[in-house]
C-alpha cells in the first residue's frame, strides 16, 4: 500500500476480479490493483478496513475479510443496506473501485499468541474476523484452542457456511453456530449467540476474545464473557460506526474521546466498556 502511505486521501484504481454470493444480500468481492502498483502484499492486519470508492455513488469503509497471507488481491464481504453498498455488490468482474487504506487498528493477534482465541461474531460481523481465523489456522502451533461462535438471524443469513464446517474439522478448533429463527428443515441450533457459551469450557486466564457484530450483540457477549471470568483487557471489539476521512482528521467518527477510524475500529473492552453501555453515545 505504498501509495496510500504517501497520500492516504487518494484512492487507487482497483478492479473486481471475482464476486460471489454469500446470502441474498451479502456478497464477497476480490479486488486487485489495476494501476500496476503494489497489491498490498502482506500489507494489512486482520481487523483493518479499506475505504472503497464506488464511482458515482460515494465512499464507504469496508473491512478486509480475506487471508492476510494472500498475495495480489484484497477480499471484502459486503452487505447491501443502502445506496453505496447496493452499488458495490452489483459490480461485475472487471469493474473499477477506488481503494484507500488499509486503515485502523487490527485485532491483537500477536498478543493472543500462546493463548486460546475465542471469536464471537454476529451476522456479517464474521467478515472482519475471518482474517484472524485464517491467521490462527495458518500458525496453529502459536495459539491454544480456537473457538468460533457465530450467530445469525436465520440460516439464509449465515455467511461462509462451507468454511464454518471446514474450520470445525481442524484440530483444537470448536465451531458453534446458531440462528435466531429457523425453519423446520434447519438441523442446527436455534437461540441467541450468548446461548452458545454453555457449551464451552473457557480458561479465562489464558483466553483472548474478539467480538464483532451489531453493538447490542457485542454488549451482551462482553457481559457474558465478564460473567465467565474474562478480564475486560482480554476482550476486543470492532466498533464499526460510520466515518469519512479514515485518517482521524474530519471528526465524523468521533466517539467520546476516540476517533473510530484511527484509534479503532478494534478497541479493548477495558477502554470502552463504560461508553458501550451508554446507549446513544
Amino acid at each position: 500500500m505504498a501509495n496510500a502511505e504517501i497520500d492516504p486521501m487518494m484512492p487507487r484504481p482497483w478492479v473486481v476480479r471475482r464476486i460471489s454470493k454469500e446470502t441474498p444480500d451479502t456478497f464477497t468481492l476480490a479486488l486487485e490493483p489495476s494501476d500496476g502498483g503494489p497489491s498490498g502484499r502482506g500489507g494489512f492486519q486482520p481487523g483493518q478496513f479499506s475505504m472503497l470508492w464506488v464511482f458515482g455513488v460515494g465512499e464507504l469503509p469496508i473491512s478486509i475479510s480475506g487471508d492476510p497471507a494472500e498475495e495480489g488481491s484484497l477480499t471484502y464481504t459486503v452487505r447491501s443496506v443502502g445506496p453505496a453498498t447496493q452499488a458495490l455488490v452489483s459490480h461485475g468482474a472487471g469493474q473499477s473501485v477506488g481503494v484507500r487504506g488499509p486503515f485502523g487498528t487490527g485485532w491483537p493477534v500477536a498478543g493472543a499468541e500462546g493463548k486460546d482465541v475465542v471469536v464471537v461474531a454476529g451476522g456479517i460481523g464474521l467478515a472482519p474476523l475471518r482474517p484472524v481465523i485464517y491467521h490462527v489456522l495458518r500458525h496453529r502451533d502459536r495459539f491454544g484452542r480456537l473457538v468460533i461462535l457465530y450467530g445469525a438471524r436465520s440460516p439464509r443469513d449465515m455467511i461462509y457456511r462451507k468454511e464454518l464446517a471446514a474450520w470445525a474439522r481442524h484440530k483444537d478448533t470448536q465451531v458453534l453456530s446458531t440462528v435466531d429463527y429457523g425453519g423446520v428443515a434447519w438441523r442446527g441450533r436455534v437461540g441467541v449467540v450468548t446461548s452458545l457459551f454453555k457449551y464451552l469450557r473457557l480458561q479465562p486466564a489464558r483466553t483472548t476474545a474478539m467480538l464483532c457484530g451489531p453493538e447490542i450483540m457485542m454488549r451482551l457477549v462482553a457481559r457474558e464473557l465478564a460473567a465467565r471470568g474474562l478480564a475486560a483487557g482480554d476482550v476486543y471489539l470492532s466498533m464499526e460506526r460510520n466515518m469519512k476521512c479514515a485518517v482521524g482528521s474530519c471528526g465524523h467518527c468521533q466517539w467520546g474521546p476516540h476517533f473510530i477510524c484511527k484509534d479503532g475500529p478494534v478497541f479493548s473492552y477495558a477502554h470502552i466498556a463504560a461508553m458501550l453501555d451508554r446507549y446513544e453515545l
Partner: protein
C-alpha cells in the same frame, strides 16, 4: 443404565447441584433412559405434560405454528440442558411441539410422580421450583434477546 450412574448424572448436573442426597435419590427413582430418533416428536402442543428431560446427547427443536405461516423453530435444546417445565405448572399441558432434530438420548423424569411428591413435601417442591425458575428465567432472557433482533441491522 445402572441406578448409580443415573444418580451421578443427576447429582453432577449444574441445575441439581446442592440438592439433598435423599431428593437426588428420589429423582433417580423417577428417571428412565429414553431415545428419540431424528424427526420424532417428544410431545405436541396441547398434550398432557407429565415429564421433563435431561438431554444427554442430540438436539431437540421447540416448534411453533404461527398463524398463516409455516412452522418455525424458536429454540433448540441440546446436550446437558433441561427440557420442559409444563409438568410443574397447571394446567400441565405442553405449549409448543418438541421434535428431535437428530437422534437424541435423554433421561426422562416422571413429572407427574414428582409433582405429587412436591405436594406432600414442600421442601422438595421449593428446591425444584427454585431450580426450574432459573431455567425459565434463562429462557425468558434468551427470548427477550431474540426480540431485540440482534442482527437485523448492522
Amino acid at each position: 443404565m445402572e441406578t448409580q450412574t443415573l444418580e451421578k448424572i443427576i447429582a453432577e448436573h449444574p441445575y441439581f447441584a446442592g440438592l439433598e442426597p435423599e431428593y437426588t435419590s428420589l429423582l433417580v427413582g423417577c428417571a428412565s433412559n429414553v431415545r428419540f430418533d431424528a424427526g420424532r416428536y417428544l410431545w405436541r402442543e396441547g398434550e398432557e405434560a407429565n415429564q421433563f428431560y435431561l438431554i444427554r446427547e442430540g438436539r431437540v427443536a421447540i416448534e411453533m405454528m404461527p398463524p398463516h405461516r409455516k412452522a418455525i423453530v424458536v429454540e433448540t435444546v441440546g446436550e446437558g440442558e433441561i427440557l420442559g417445565w409444563s409438568w410443574l405448572l397447571p394446567p400441565y399441558t405442553w405449549r409448543f411441539h418438541a421434535r428431535a432434530v437428530e437422534m437424541t438420548r435423554a433421561l426422562a423424569l416422571d413429572g407427574k410422580c414428582l409433582r405429587n411428591k412436591c405436594e406432600q413435601n414442600h421442601d422438595l417442591g421449593y428446591e425444584l421450583l427454585k431450580r426450574f425458575a432459573q431455567i425459565i428465567n434463562h429462557r425468558l432472557d434468551a427470548t427477550r434477546m431474540q426480540l431485540l433482533d440482534l442482527y437485523g441491522k448492522r
